[in-house]
């Protein structure tokens, strides 16, 4: 069964007749307006907390906490994982970024719900299977995890935050994300177009 085309509307409305459903997904906002919204959230973080946004840091904390919980002697010997065990005293909920990511999960849901855009589905192009998409997603995720740790941040933490601060490293990081993305786009085009 091709699960990619299975759509379960969250509100349980059924397709009536030919493609007419009670709650259709609303169109997205003007990206510039949404961008201003993002910028104001980022600014609020600077003003209130004295630091910007972030996402990859939360993943580091979760991974390290997991390693230290499951195999503490293993984690102790590794200088990366052992740092995190000190800093958050084995409680990931004490980490600001972890809590922020919980907020992101909630906020994304609220927006998607209100706009009738919640849909249990797999986003992918026409010419690839779900399994292919999952393979690419996992590998792509792993590569991003490594790239983000190398650069001390991801698009939210480095590109957006550092970008607004005119941070040299952040701008370089951001420029090379685009370079890397465009360079690889041709080779993975089967997944999307």
């Amino acid at each position: 069964m091709d699960t990619a085309t299975k759509k379960i509307s969250f509100l349980g409305t059924k397709q009536i007749g030919k493609g007419k459903s009670i709650s259709t997904p609303q169109p997205y906002w003007n990206p510039y307006v949404a961008g201003v919204g993002l910028g104001l959230v980022l600014l609020a973080a600077f003003v209130i907390m004295g630091r910007g946004l972030g996402a990859s840091g939360a993943f580091s904390t979760v991974v390290s906490t997991g390693v230290n919980a499951i195999a503490p002697s293993f984690g102790e010997k590794n200088e990366f994982f052992s740092t995190y065990s000190d800093q958050v005293s084995a409680n990931p909920l004490k980490d600001w970024y972890v809590i922020e990511v919980i907020g992101i999960l909630i906020g994304g849901f609220i927006s998607g719900f209100l706009a009738h855009r919640f849909k249990k589905t797999v986003d992918k192009g026409r010419n690839i299977s779900v399994r292919g998409r999952f393979t690419y997603a996992f590998i792509g995720g792993a590569i991003m995890g490594i790239g983000a740790k190398l650069a001390r941040g991801c698009t939210s933490g480095q590109a957006l935050t550092g970008g607004a601060q005119l941070n040299v490293g952040s701008w370089l990081f951001m420029i090379f994300i685009f370079i890397g993305g465009y360079a690889a786009a041709y080779f993975v085009r089967r997944q999307w177009i």
Partner: protein, 175 residues
């Protein structure tokens, strides 16, 4: 409608940034901190009317404190007991606590209160135990002699890096 909305946004951004060119720098000249190097030189020059305050616990203070520092715990410090005419340098382990206390002083009208940027941590890494990295520039290598002299003034131990001497820790930077 969308086009006009975007044009308003773009126009506002351009106007704000043109004014930014005119404004020049967003930083005010009033600095609230002093860097460890600058502070070390200030101490060496035996500047008069300088008060140094260690905001940490008594135990940390007794283990090590910056020469001439007095120990007043951050929870008990009262700006009114200090002389506004003096230069006051406040420090803690890093600078999270000292930043807050410095702001307290600033609100009370102290114009010469500063926190030590990086606290005892940076003081140790930059003044007491400075390390000359292998891949430093020539200018840095020449300047290191001054850094070594300053370190030894405070009874420190400067170090020139080789394969074995650098401490191996992962510092969490970034998000």
């Amino acid at each position: 409608m969308k086009l006009t909305q975007n044009k308003i946004l773009a126009g506002s951004a351009i106007i704000l940034s043109v004014f930014a060119v005119i404004a020049g720098s967003p930083f005010s000249s009033k600095k609230s901190y002093i860097n460890p190097e600058q502070f070390a030189d200030t101490l060496i020059s035996k500047k008069q009317n300088l008060t140094v305050v260690d905001l940490r616990d008594k135990k940390d203070y007794n283990d090590y404190h910056i020469p001439s520092a007095i120990n007043v715990n951050a929870t008990r410090i009262d700006p009114s007991t200090f002389d506004q005419k003096n230069m006051i340098v406040l420090y803690s382990g890093r600078d999270n606590i000292s930043k807050t206390i410095q702001y307290k002083f600033e609100k009370e009208g102290f114009k010469k209160a500063y926190f030590l940027n990086g606290g005892i941590d940076d003081w140790m890494n930059k003044i007491i135990f400075p390390v000359l990295l292998k891949n430093s520039s020539e200018a840095e290598k020449k300047n290191f002699e001054n850094i070594e002299r300053r370190s030894m003034y405070f009874g420190g131990q400067p170090e020139r890096e080789d394969e074995n001497s650098v401490k191996k820790i992962y510092r969490r930077e970034g998000c």
